[in-house]
Symmetry: C2
Subunit: 141 residues, 2 copies
């Protein structure tokens, strides 16, 4: 299969290197770097924390107050995962009582741009999505 059917997409034009990578045959979701990264970002709290830390560094309790509906367990765990991936920096100040500050690493900061693009899209179209959901629900009935 050597056919170049790129022109079929007409105006899409944004699939770019994804289609190329996918067509390269060596995909199969196992060695897929996208999934590897998106899996973490796709969880319930990661993106929210990243955007929050993108504004300014936060302390633990500060984050907990900013996100009322996160449990302490999930906050700890998500922060540790992000730290593990090199997106978040954790700094402990040996004060009494102890305080810990979380901030984005340069790698984490570089994610803000692309992530904002997606968030902007979500904000812009979530009305249409909710509408589509209601239409679908009423059709199903």
């Amino acid at each position: 299969m050597a056919g170049e059917k790129a022109e079929a997409g007409t105006e899409s034009g944004a699939d770019t290197n994804f289609q190329k990578m996918f067509a390269s045959g060596d995909f199969n979701a196992a060695n897929c770097p996208i999934r590897d990264v998106l899996d973490q970002l796709g969880d319930k709290w990661s993106t929210l924390l990243i955007m929050l830390l993108g504004g300014k560094p936060h302390r633990f309790g500060e984050l907990r107050r900013q996100i009322p509906d996160i449990s302490q367990r999930m906050l700890t765990q998500t922060l540790r995962d992000l730290q593990r991936d090199g997106l978040v920096h954790r700094e402990v100040f040996p004060t009494v009582p102890p305080s810990v500050e979380y901030s984005l690493t340069p790698l984490g900061a570089s994610l803000i741009g692309p992530l904002s693009g997606l968030i902007d899209w979500a904000a812009a179209h979530h009305g249409a999505i909710r509408e589509a959901r209601e239409v679908y629900a009423s059709e199903a009935a």
Copy 2:
């Protein structure tokens, strides 16, 4: 549902409008449109399917072959969710045997851009992330 309609502040800066929205107090993750949308996109297969359909429409079995490690159940379910959100169009051809074609709606196509931004980031930095993970693992030991 008390007062939908989030202004979303058009689109200008990157992190700016998120911080603005967050600071506006009208956030709290309950009425957060971001979470509403990202929740669906963040699941295991949505983004993959969207990018795939962004290339060209696919039939059901075609998608299943393209993604070997998706179960038939998850494929059906994810497609239905995307259709419900108005991102994917489902067209049935009453042939024998029956065939169904899935394609992106204009709304779904508009997502390709922002999503590609994130995917490009993932592809570009996933090496750094894997490296960070190994460092973290060795430090933990």
